[in-house]
């Protein structure tokens, strides 16, 4: 017999013989994918997982998740979690479970994404595909609408429900026997809020910029990074910033000889990097909801409030994401990270193209790809440019150059910011799947290290 998520959570707690947390994760999704001007795949899926976190003896924990759980099988799931807890070694992050309060909306049913949620997109995409065909261009891309509703209940009385809608559209255009490539993407809470025609127009414009090809060598360039590229670099920075790794001297935010770099000036710019569960259009859960412990979240911390947290303020490293356990290890404040990221630079104004207007000689990138860590202690990252690199001279784009492999540290780059644009919602080309809720400015940076040429076009 099926049951509502909140009922499953309550039944799990009722079946528990000791301290217990139940998380029910309900996910509904619709997606379309297209390539070479034709639809390739689609999907309309729903899933529901129940995770039971059972605590035994105060510091032993068993975490068992299962999909397709109904009221008849929930007790068995709880029993498995409790057995796992009894059999486990003590958990290093063990702590008292977080007490209430109970959310009035806890009993509400989850929402559902339907094929109808794709209707407007399908129509605008159809027009874009038709335009592309008639213009001898090809469009490739992907769009999805998801609604992820999480129910959190604890034997301490805590009841929380959070619905997280998310939509993304990515559009890649190619022309001239695929020798030219351009990309635009957007994230929102609903597909209806994404202007596909505007994305298609941007892609078409940029393909036009590539009519003139110019030679360029590897080297360091004054470079304009659009918000998408900044989002990818800052996402990696956030994911490399857990307090424990820093405290143990294993990350760029650790001080040689011990301790974190909290308090260090990272940038001469008055910039802020922060996460905020209430950020307009990018809201995320206001309490911790995790089904597994990691440096960024502990199962014992489920239900702890998540508030706005500045990681960098006025260019100074102010905090690092923690769990209660890692905050204690590192001797710093407990700061739970929200699932979004915003950068603002005082005085930042305009778009990437406005920054181009002030650049005498340099490059304008479109986006970055295949970003991987080379050295954790400097956070040296490598990766590639993609979908258009443009030569800028005298404040104008004068043509396209080759793609490059870069080797750069985003933390080091913060101190090489020359100018910034207005912070706008953006979608990271590579990490937008994992962190779609980002708002970033375009940045102009000195000496961006284009380590070698990539022949990819």
């Amino acid at each position: 017999m099926s049951a509502h998520p909140h009922e499953l959570a309550e039944r799990a707690l009722a079946a528990a013989t000791g301290p217990c947390v139940a998380l029910v994760s309900n996910r509904s999704e619709a997606n379309l994918r297209w390539a070479a001007n034709t639809l390739t795949t689609n999907g309309l899926t729903s899933s529901q997982d129940v995770t039971v976190i059972a605590v035994h003896g105060g510091d032993q924990v068993g975490v068992v998740s299962r999909s397709g759980v109904d009221v008849d099988s929930i007790a068995a799931l709880v029993a498995d979690a409790e057995a796992a807890a009894r059999a486990s070694a003590p958990a290093e992050d063990a702590a008292e479970l977080v007490p209430g309060p109970a959310d009035d909306a806890f009993g509400e049913a989850p929402g559902e994404v339907t094929a109808g949620d794709l209707a407007a997109l399908a129509q605008s995409l159809g027009s874009a595909l038709e335009d592309a065909r008639s213009g001898d261009r090809e469009l490739f891309g992907y769009a999805e609408q998801t609604l992820h509703t999480t129910y959190l209940a604890s034997s301490t009385g805590l009841r929380a429900r959070y619905a997280l809608p998310a939509a993304t559209v990515q559009l890649n255009g190619k022309s001239h026997q695929r020798s030219r490539s351009a990309w635009a993407g957007a994230a929102a809470q609903a597909l209806d809020a994404v202007d596909v025609a505007a994305l298609a127009a941007e892609v078409t414009d940029r393909l036009g910029w590539q009519a003139r090809r110019l030679d360029a060598e590897a080297g360091r360039y004054e470079t304009i990074l659009p918000p998408s590229a900044v989002a990818d670099l800052m996402a990696y920075t956030l994911w490399s910033s857990d307090a424990r790794s820093a405290h143990e001297g294993r990350s760029v935010f650790g001080r040689k000889g011990g301790g974190t770099r909290v308090g260090d000036q990272l940038s001469g710019q008055h910039l802020r990097l922060f996460s905020d569960p209430t950020a307009a259009g990018m809201q995320t859960a206001p309490v911790v909801m995790v089904g597994g412990s990691s440096p960024f979240g502990s199962v014992f911390d489920n239900g702890l409030p998540v508030t706005r947290q500045s990681w960098i303020e006025d260019g100074v490293l102010r905090a690092l994401p923690t769990t209660r356990h890692s905050a204690g290890l590192a001797g710093i404040a407990d700061t739970q990270a929200a699932d979004n990221l915003v950068m603002e630079v005082d005085g930042g104004r305009g778009s990437a193209m406005d920054l181009v207007a002030d650049l005498d000689d340099g490059l304008l990138l479109t986006c970055l790809w295949y970003i991987r860590e080379v050295d954790p202690q400097t956070l040296l990252l490598t990766g590639l440019t993609r979908d258009g690199v443009y030569k800028v001279e005298g404040g104008e784009v004068i043509g396209a150059v080759t793609n490059f492999r870069f080797n750069e540290s985003p933390v080091d780059l913060l101190d090489r910011i020359v100018a910034a644009g207005t912070t706008v919602p953006t979608l990271g080309r590579e990490f937008g799947d994992y962190l779609p809720r980002t708002a970033m400015p375009a940045l102009r940076v000195r000496g961006f290290n284009c380590s070698s040429v990539s022949q990819a076009s």
């Binding site: 997606n31 639809l39 390739t40 689609n42 309309l44 424990r244 294993r250 412990s293």
Partner: protein, 503 residues
């Protein structure tokens, strides 16, 4: 003893009834093709930090998926409920999705023919890791972690991931297969930190399609040599911390299988996925320089180069009896004598390009996802009477021996790549001359494989692999193995990563 039968608790599910319900509904609604998958994927993990449990869990994802072709268009839907009603509803929704999609589709979907198959297949493993008490697993990794800490390392991260994947597939043509495979990934990483800096050293044991015997076995049993590796690891970490920084330049590289497998994955494995080469991944993972017009002409590398696609190698992470389109699997050549001669295919791509049949590379990582073309085990074959690693090194005047993988990145057409590793040893006049660090090698795919001067013998061949290869939108992960021998590559660009990072 290896298993020969899928677990009863999966076989006992109403698999045939679910298939009948879904396929009949799809047929009634006009589907030209319909297939049903019932999947149960149980994944578990254990994480330790400095010999204390830092996390873990046990997650089971199960459900059914219906994929249809209606009027030449794909439709797909999935459900977590394993009831005939859910199967019928999923079939109806899949048909609805196909009809919604039809106006946007300009290519008619047709599938390459495949004989009808029925049967059962189980991967080769002895000890189901889910049958082993978690406390026993924790004890092994706690003991190993303590051993490394006691040897002087400042920190030790340990993790163990284990997965059991069960699949039932049936289609309108009559194919019905049931399969089960098990894979494990044990990793330990030692960290040494001083006022001068930090270095890490990770175990080289690759993830494999084996069971718990891979962890508790010994090299004498054909499992991994854990005792030897853990004994050496602390000293290697300290040696690396003290090692001089490499001098950037061009070197001959002797690359160990523990590193080369990943270069194969990125520069050959992904590059020879035909869906990519045709553009079906262009918006995301990218395309390939190895386009179909170059088949049988592209000089991928030196004539010593022989690369195969395999879906039936024992313990391979991508080994399976039938793929997720009911295609019977096997092996085939991808690069022969240095020339591109084959691709990885699924049924739609095979039909589209005139191939007689698919070579069985369709895979979905769960019932929630549609099968897409995923990588077979792609392996570099050893030279029949080739040299040992020591013999290869002996022939190098000035070079570097590269062991273990670490960082990897390649462009979206698979030209330009950059890899680091766990350990690097200078080679001077045919002998190892101490460790260096801060090294990455960078090349273009065909230049690199064109510089392969010596291929090691079978005695150097190791089946490496990766647990979580990403592809597709919505994103899917797949596990895949790559076997290779040691090999020598001449005149490769080596970077000093400190210099790369210096502003």
């Amino acid at each position: 003893m290896t298993r020969d039968r899928v677990d009863d608790d999966f076989r006992d599910l109403p698999l045939t009834r679910l298939a009948d319900a879904a396929l009949q509904r799809a047929r009634e609604l006009g589907a030209e093709h319909a297939d049903l998958r019932v999947e149960r994927v149980r994944s578990a993990s254990l994480r330790l930090s400095d010999a204390r449990v830092a996390g873990g869990g046990d997650s089971t994802d199960s459900g059914l998926a219906v994929r249809v072709v209606v009027d030449g268009a794909w439709g797909f839907s999935a459900s977590a409920d394993l009831t005939t009603e859910a199967a019928q509803a999923a079939a109806s929704r899949a048909v609805e999705m196909a009809r919604v999609s039809r106006p946007l589709s300009t290519e008619r979907v047709e599938l390459a023919p495949e004989p009808v198959h029925t049967g059962e297949w189980v991967s080769s493993y002895a000890l189901d890791p889910f049958d082993v008490p978690d406390a026993d697993k924790a004890e092994v990794f706690t003991t190993w972690s303590r051993q490394l800490l006691d040897a002087g390392l400042n920190h030790v991260d340990a993790s163990f991931d284990w997965v059991k994947e069960q699949k039932f597939y049936a289609d309108l043509a009559g194919t019905a297969t049931t399969q089960q495979r098990v894979r494990v990934q044990p990793v330990l990483t030692g960290v040494v930190v001083t006022g001068d800096g930090m270095e890490t050293m990770r175990t080289l044991a690759p993830p494999v399609g084996r069971g718990w015997e891979y962890v508790v076995g010994t090299s004498a049993d054909g499992a991994w040599g854990w005792a030897e590796e853990l004994e050496a690891l602390p000293g290697l970490a300290v040696e690396k911390l003290k090692a001089p920084s490499v001098e950037a330049g061009r070197y001959d590289l002797v690359i160990d299988p523990s590193n080369l497998f990943l270069t194969i994955h990125e520069s050959i494995g992904h590059a020879t996925e035909l869906d990519r080469a045709l553009g079906y991944e262009a918006a995301y993972a990218g395309m390939s320089f190895a386009t179909p017009d170059k088949l049988n002409t592209l000089k991928y590398g030196t004539p010593l180069m022989h690369v195969t696609g395999d879906r039936d190698i024992e313990h391979g992470l991508a080994s399976i009896g039938w793929d997720d389109e009911g295609v019977a699997t096997g092996s085939w050549d991808i690069v022969r004598d240095g020339t591109l001669v084959g691709y990885q295919l699924d049924r739609r791509i095979a039909q589209l390009t005139g191939a007689e049949r698919s070579n069985g590379c369709a895979f979905a990582d769960s019932s929630s996802h549609v099968p897409i073309q995923r990588m077979a085990n792609v392996s570099l074959q050893p030279a029949a009477n080739g040299p040992s690693t020591e013999e290869i090194i002996a022939g190098v005047e000035r070079g570097i021996y590269v062991i273990g993988d670490k960082s990897w990145s390649i462009d979206m057409q698979r030209y330009n790549f950059q890899f680091t590793g766990q350990r690097f040893y200078k080679i001077e006049n045919g002998r190892l001359a101490g460790m260096v660090k801060d090294l990455a090698y960078q090349a273009t795919t065909t230049d690199f494989w064109g510089s392969m001067a010596v291929v090691g013998g079978p005695q150097t061949w190791v089946l490496g692999g990766a647990f979580n290869c990403g592809k597709g939108q919505p994103g899917q992960v797949a596990a895949v193995s790559h076997g290779c021998p040691s090999a020598l590559f001449t005149d490769v660009r080596v970077l000093n990563t400190n210099e790369e990072g210096a502003a």
